[in-house]
């Protein structure tokens, strides 16, 4: 018997697809969709990051890792990275603290709690762009509501250039105002899963309010807390609208976050290769931060 005959004799008749093939068939549309929207543009961006472009958006020459090397030696990138870290750290800290405080309050029983819960979530529903416009009015040196409030309280004698004084910090506060409701949403959900019996037992044991929070509440909120840490950190690092609309990186580059720097390199200066390289550096930074958060989460779970 020849090999061919053996094979043909032993081969099972095939009808339709195998389970694996069928599974692949099912996920194929998603894979194609993802490839079209993510993989392909990323590949193009990677290719661009290895080229030297002129301001007309034309490739001048293959530049290898030159754009990445330039980025690491660019004082503007270094300054922007520091500003981004300050911006992100402030946003995360304020978001978490505000989220915790408000969610603890909203977890209490009081009249009109449902309405307050709805109102509290509203800032998150406002787009970042609209938040920027809103805070332009709040911080304005000429007609700003914050200046008006401070003046009414007798704390200032004349309107102050709040953005010039507070720079990246006041922008971070605006973003945290926009973002904190998401934290409240997550934290409130966690708080409602804490069994009331545990609080009772803790009270019986004479635990103080702080002790009850630390030993009873916090363990239940840990996962929500870590999710918010990851989300707030990545979203703050990616944020551009607020800076773009409020200050365009000013005054004197003091609010020039890394995303603004990427935007400027790409769309204003037409240096597409450099902009792409900076995007990948930002991506690595975001992945690193996310990974750290998840490692912390995994360790705690063990």
């Amino acid at each position: 018997m020849t090999q061919t005959a053996r094979n043909s004799g032993s081969a099972k008749p095939k009808r339709g697809l195998t389970d694996s093939q069928f599974a692949l068939f099912l996920i194929a549309p998603l894979v194609i969709f993802q490839a079209a929207l993510t993989v392909y543009p990323s590949a193009v961006a990677l290719w661009m990051s290895l080229q030297k472009f002129n301001p007309s958006g034309q490739v001048m020459r293959f530049y290898g890792l030159g754009n990445y090397i330039d980025a690491f030696s660019d004082p503007g990138v270094q300054a922007s990275t520091v500003i981004s870290i300050e911006y992100t750290a402030t946003i995360v800290a304020v978001t978490v603290l505000l989220g915790l405080g408000v969610s603890l309050l909203l977890n209490e029983q009081f009249r009109g709690r449902s309405i307050v819960r709805v109102l509290v979530i509203l800032p998150w529903a406002i787009p970042e762009y609209a938040t920027a416009l809103l805070y332009g009015n709040v911080y304005s040196q000429t007609y700003g509501t914050l200046n008006g409030l401070l003046m009414a309280l007798g704390l200032i004698k004349e309107y102050l250039p709040i953005i010039s004084i507070g720079t990246i910090w006041v922008l971070a506060l605006a973003y945290a105002w926009h973002y904190a409701p998401l934290a409240i949403f997550f934290f409130l959900g966690s708080l409602q899963s804490v069994p009331e019996d545990l609080y009772r037992q803790a009270r019986v044991d004479g635990a103080s309010a702080f002790r009850r929070f630390k030993t009873v509440t916090l363990p239940y909120m840990r996962y929500a807390l870590l999710i918010i840490l990851v989300l707030a950190t990545t979203d703050a690092l990616k944020s551009l609208d607020l800076v773009w609309n409020l200050t365009q990186g000013g005054p004197s580059g003091m609010t020039r976050v890394l995303t603004y720097y990427v935007y400027r390199a790409t769309f204003v200066l037409g240096n597409l290769g450099y902009g792409a390289a900076l995007s990948f550096i930002l991506l690595v930074l975001i992945i690193a931060v996310t990974a750290i958060c998840f490692i912390v989460l995994t360790r705690r779970r063990r």
Partner: protein
């Protein structure tokens, strides 16, 4: 027993049709593929049906049909046939005026052209469009001059040298300096002026009057002749305690209209053009430029200029000056309307231009934008389409088929009165009447006319594909310098080094050969 059981199971299987999850998904998948196929076929059919030229209207006696016949006749008269819409992409600035003009054009020529307002950041959208072809079609568009240079070099802008009436339009321009804006180093002209203006110093007469520097009508008594005079006047104002800061310079963060543009303003008023137009080498190493930088620093160091402006955007800058807390600023000339609008400013009616720009030359800088036509593989067009587009281009930038200035007149005679390149507009009684209604006085009108017709274009504008990089660098270094982080001398050295470095990196005039 076992035989009976098997038969029973067999019966059960026959009566109850069990569908596995896999079978269900298979059927759903097949249905989805079928639906997708229908959508694709339908889409192709729709595309084919709409991409053909519309049929001629049947002869009827209705008013609509009469109009259609008239417009078709208008299109035919010029030997052009109607076709798919030609698109004019605009940024968000008084789109209602653009749309009104488009309506007139469509009626006059039996056309179906459309205005598309680009959402978000205009140049980012344009770049994306040119790089990827994504989104709606783009035929005509606005461009600032420095972007035009870059886009033309990239092959995204079409020269207009061969347009009919090209020389007539050139000759019609009141300020021939504007032709410099349009010309590329290779001799091609890349567009027509959409609007042209200047950045003159404006003052609040009420504030000056309180300090005894303006007469009863709020007009300045003695206009500063030099920038040193100007700085001294700011000192006097602050000393008089009428205002905390005398000057709200337009030192904002804006790529096309911020501290970089104001530096150009200072330089041009002193006759300093920053770059040699032929070699594109910097000409900044001189005492004039150093003194300009020193004055900028002095204004902040002596608390004469409001440093808070460094964090403002363009609209906030205008609003801040409207509040009446400063004596001087500079903005694009059309913004005088905002200052003199009672709804926006408590001191409306008190704002005027300085009769002459300070500086040894007193020249005004050109600022403005152009109408350009795209040229790209994504925007291929037939000869018929190209001619229709040319007609649209000239309608907006010059005259209609009857020889009337239409679009430009709308701009210059409606608030905020965008400047136009034709002298006729300024001499038109209708323009005068419209301007006087908006609290312009005769003196301001004369200043504006003079400024428009004599504005000087920085030679650095032409053919420097890296001009945006230069302007962005000005936005980096100048705020640091005015805040005292860098000395004027170091800032000047840095400016020269950067100019040389950009020229070396991206090329000088040789890239156009």
């Amino acid at each position: 027993m076992s035989t009976q059981k098997k038969e029973s199971e067999k019966k059960t299987k026959n009566t109850n049709v069990n569908v596995t999850r896999r079978q269900a998904l298979s059927k759903m998948g097949a249905a989805a593929v079928g639906a997708a196929a229908i959508v694709v076929v339908g889409g192709v059919a729709y595309y084919l049906s709409t991409s053909q030229a519309p049929p001629s209207p049947p002869p009827t006696t209705t008013a609509a049909a009469t109009t259609q016949a008239a417009t078709t006749q208008a299109a035919t008269q010029t030997g052009l046939t109607a076709g798919p819409p030609v698109y004019f992409n605009i940024w968000a600035y008084h789109p209602e005026i653009v749309a009104a003009n488009m309506q007139i054009f469509n009626q006059e020529y039996g056309e179906n052209c459309e205005v598309l307002q680009v959402p978000g950041d205009y140049y980012a959208s344009l770049l994306t469009k040119f790089m990827t072809g994504a989104g709606s079609r783009m035929d005509m568009m606005y461009l600032h001059s420095d972007y035009m240079t870059r886009y033309y070099k990239a092959g995204w802008i079409q020269p207009v040298n061969d347009e009919e009436h090209c020389n007539e339009i050139r000759n019609d321009y009141g300020n021939k300096n504007l032709l410099e804006v349009l010309m590329m180093p290779d001799g091609n002209q890349c567009g027509w002026v959409y609007f042209n203006g200047t950045v003159p110093i404006q003052y609040n007469g009420k504030v000056l009057q309180k300090a005894g520097l303006a007469d009863d009508t709020g007009h300045i008594k003695s206009s500063p002749k030099t920038w040193d005079d100007f700085v001294q006047m700011c000192r006097d104002l602050v000393k008089s305690k009428v205002v905390k800061y005398a000057y709200l310079p337009k030192w904002i963060q804006c790529g096309t209209c911020g501290i970089n543009e104001i530096f150009d303003e200072y330089c041009i008023s002193e006759g300093e053009l920053q770059f040699d137009p032929k070699t594109q080498e910097p000409t900044l190493e001189n005492d004039r430029v150093l003194h300009i930088l020193e004055n900028m620093r002095t204004l902040v160091a002596e608390n004469l200029a409001d440093p808070g402006v460094l964090a403002l955007n363009e609209q906030d800058h205008i609003t801040t000056f409207c509040a009446g807390k400063h004596a001087f600023t500079e903005v694009h000339d059309y913004d005088l309307v905002a200052f003199n609008d009672p709804a926006q400013s408590p001191d409306a009616g008190w704002y005027h231009w300085l009769p002459a720009q300070p500086g040894s030359k007193g020249w005004y800088p050109y600022m403005g934008a152009l109408y350009c036509i795209s040229s790209h593989e994504y925007m291929k067009r037939s000869n018929n389409e190209a001619k229709r587009l040319e007609r649209l281009h000239q309608f907006y930038a010059w005259k209609d088929k009857n020889g009337n200035y239409v679009a430009g007149k709308q701009w210059i005679q409606s608030p905020p009165f965008l400047g136009q390149p034709y002298t006729q507009y300024y001499d038109d009684p209708a323009t005068k009447e419209a301007w006087l209604k908006q609290t312009y006085d005769e003196g301001d009108m004369a200043v504006r006319r003079n400024a428009h017709l004599t504005a000087v274009v920085p030679p650095g504008y032409h053919g420097m594909v890296w001009y945006s990089n230069w302007h962005e660098y000005l936005m980096d270094i100048l705020p640091k310098m005015v805040l005292g982080e860098v000395t004027p001398r170091d800032a000047l050295t840095s400016l020269i080094d950067t100019a040389n470095s950009l020229r070396k990196e991206y090329g000088g005039p040789e890239i156009w050969k």
